[in-house]
């Protein structure tokens, strides 16, 4: 069964995105024409799939692994609710997830 995400693009536009609860969040976001560039393809090497997770959803996601935290720490647009979308595996329980695409560095 598909899930719905609420995605705010870099111009503030809100989109409802329907996707299968499989693969990484990045893989869904890179399909969008306003989506993330994800240059390294999910290797946690480039930080070009940076998103802000709505605060109420933060605790429901798996913790950051060290590489992800390391990359995020040095981003100009980092916030407390920053995540790299390639490191979040989408599951059924993420139905309703709200996020905002971070500006490109």
């Amino acid at each position: 069964m598909s899930i719905r995400l609420s995605v705010v693009d870099r111009n503030g536009g809100e989109h409802e995105v329907e996707t299968a609860p499989e693969g990484s969040l990045m893989e869904t976001l890179r399909e969008l024409d306003y989506g993330v560039s994800a240059i390294c393809g999910g290797m946690c090497s480039c930080a070009t799939c940076h998103v802000y997770i709505a605060p109420e959803w933060l605790a429901k996601l798996p913790d950051r692994q060290s590489d992800e935290g390391d990359l995020l720490a040095e981003l100009q647009f980092r916030q407390d609710n920053s995540r790299l979308s390639c490191q979040i595996q989408l599951k059924q329980e993420h139905d309703g997830l709200r996020l905002t695409l971070a500006p490109e560095e």
Binding site: G23, R30, I39, C44, E74
Partner: protein, 426 residues
């Protein structure tokens, strides 16, 4: 057959990372007219880096390599002409001629032709290419053929100790394959990195069980009686290495022949300016196939890199859309082997000082390349955070104190200066 429409129609020649990115970037830049990507493979534009890593190990399927799935092209109204090769560009009449004889008229053209695997030059190469167990590695079909033979106990000979060869070796070891790597130069990764880094990677591969040999050249190949399989690789010094499979990774040649035949300037790549425009104002080019000016390096360069393909594709799209912006990115690369995440920024060529931060024994370190005091490149192994800092430091084109770079008691970011925090959002 020829179509005669005279309206705008932008064609992108090449369906690799640059070609795919260019198409979507054109739509983002506001181009709404007809847009077609032409590619000689049967696949949608896909990521090549996993070919020698996760895809080779069988950890993912072809469709997961695609930059975007078909629905995204349909939604963006981007047409795909796949399994089709462009034979000729007729610039006088603004026509593309395909391998099936069909012609189309373009208003503007983007060349994202990438490169192809460099072939071996030994006499036996052509014969070997016709066998079932000798393969260059460049595309999905190559990997499909190779990975079907990745079984424990198989004897794999990898010719070439560059990134592709070493990544293939690491992937093969993970599958229990017996691996020999042959490098003609005195050390692996000789063209791209310092001797210290070469030594580090040689030790890592040998510790993992790879029979890694340097300073050794292939002289000829041995075939079975029916001639349909390579059975051994013969090398200088009379060395003979039995093989069940041979993979060759000895570099890439840019695909520039069609551009050259069309009279565009070509010099180790299709020559473009900082706006990714070729010597014909109606034709742009992006990715591995281009020779472009680098503000950062102060000279013309050709890069084989995904970040370059993506970023230059966007510059090319902006030029086509009439909103030119100059390309001024700092090169960066990555390579994953075993449990090592190597990230590189800048180009180390011409360095005169090598500074190590951390220890190679711990498999967590950063290597700094300086030229007359100025930091020109950094290789980081399992140090993602320092790599992000290093990108800023290299981009700054500044000098750094070598002793300070090596001093682990001082956080690198202290040397680099703080990230400029952005205004909070959302």
């Amino acid at each position: 057959m020829s179509d005669t429409h005279t309206e705008d129609h932008i064609y992108i020649v090449g369906a690799g990372h640059a070609g795919g990115e260019l198409a979507f970037a054109l739509r983002q830049q506001g181009y709404a007219g007809p847009l077609t990507i032409v590619g000689d493979e049967s696949h949608l534009p896909y990521q090549r880096p996993p070919l020698s890593k996760a895809y080779l190990k069988g950890e993912c399927e072809a469709t997961s390599l695609y930059l975007r799935q078909l629905a995204a092209y349909e939604k963006a109204n981007i047409s795909l002409l796949l399994s089709r090769r462009v034979e000729r560009i007729d610039r006088a009449n603004k026509k593309l001629v395909f391998d099936d004889g069909r012609e189309v008229t373009y208003s503007k053209l983007a060349l994202a032709t990438g490169g192809r695997a460099r072939r071996m030059t030994i006499n036996d190469a052509t014969r070997a290419e016709g066998t079932s167990n000798f393969r260059y590695l460049r595309n999905i079909d190559d990997v499909m053929a190779i990975r079907s033979r990745f079984e424990a106990g198989q004897r794999l000979v990898v010719i070439g100790g560059g990134y592709v060869g070493l990544e293939v070796a690491a992937s093969a070891i993970a599958r229990g394959v017996n691996v020999t790597v042959l490098e003609a130069l005195p050390r692996v990764l000789a063209r791209v990195t310092a001797p210290q880094m070469s030594q580090f990677y040689e030790k890592v591969h040998r510790d993992a069980g790879v029979d890694l040999r340097t300073n050794i050249e292939v002289t000829h190949l041995e075939f079975n009686a029916t001639g349909d399989a390579v059975t051994a690789v013969h090398c200088t010094g009379g060395v003979v290495i039995p093989a069940d499979y041979v993979v060759v990774g000895i570099g890439l040649l840019p695909n520039t022949e069609v551009a050259q035949a069309a009279g565009l300037d070509v010099d180790n790549g299709i020559v473009v300016n900082e706006y990714a425009v070729t010597s014909d104002p109606d034709i742009v080019a992006a990715g591995d196939c281009t020779n472009h000016p680098s503000v950062f390096c102060g000279r013309r360069i050709r890069l084989e890199s995904v970040p370059n393909a993506v970023e230059q594709a966007r510059v090319a799209a902006a030029s086509l859309a009439g909103k030119p912006k100059a390309y001024e990115s700092v090169p960066w690369f990555w390579s994953d082997q075993y449990d090592l995440k190597l990230q590189m920024t800048g180009l180390s060529q011409g360095y005169d000082q090598f500074v190590l931060r951390g220890s190679m024994e711990s498999k967590s370190f950063a290597a700094f390349y300086l030229k007359q005091g100025r930091l020109i490149a950094v290789d980081a192994v399992n140090r993602a955070q320092e790599f992000m800092v290093a990108k800023r430091m290299v981009a700054a084109c500044k000098s750094f104190d070598p002793a300070a770079l090596a001093d682990e008691s001082v956080p690198l970011k202290t040397l680099a200066g703080p990230v400029q925090p952005a205004a909070p959002q959302a």
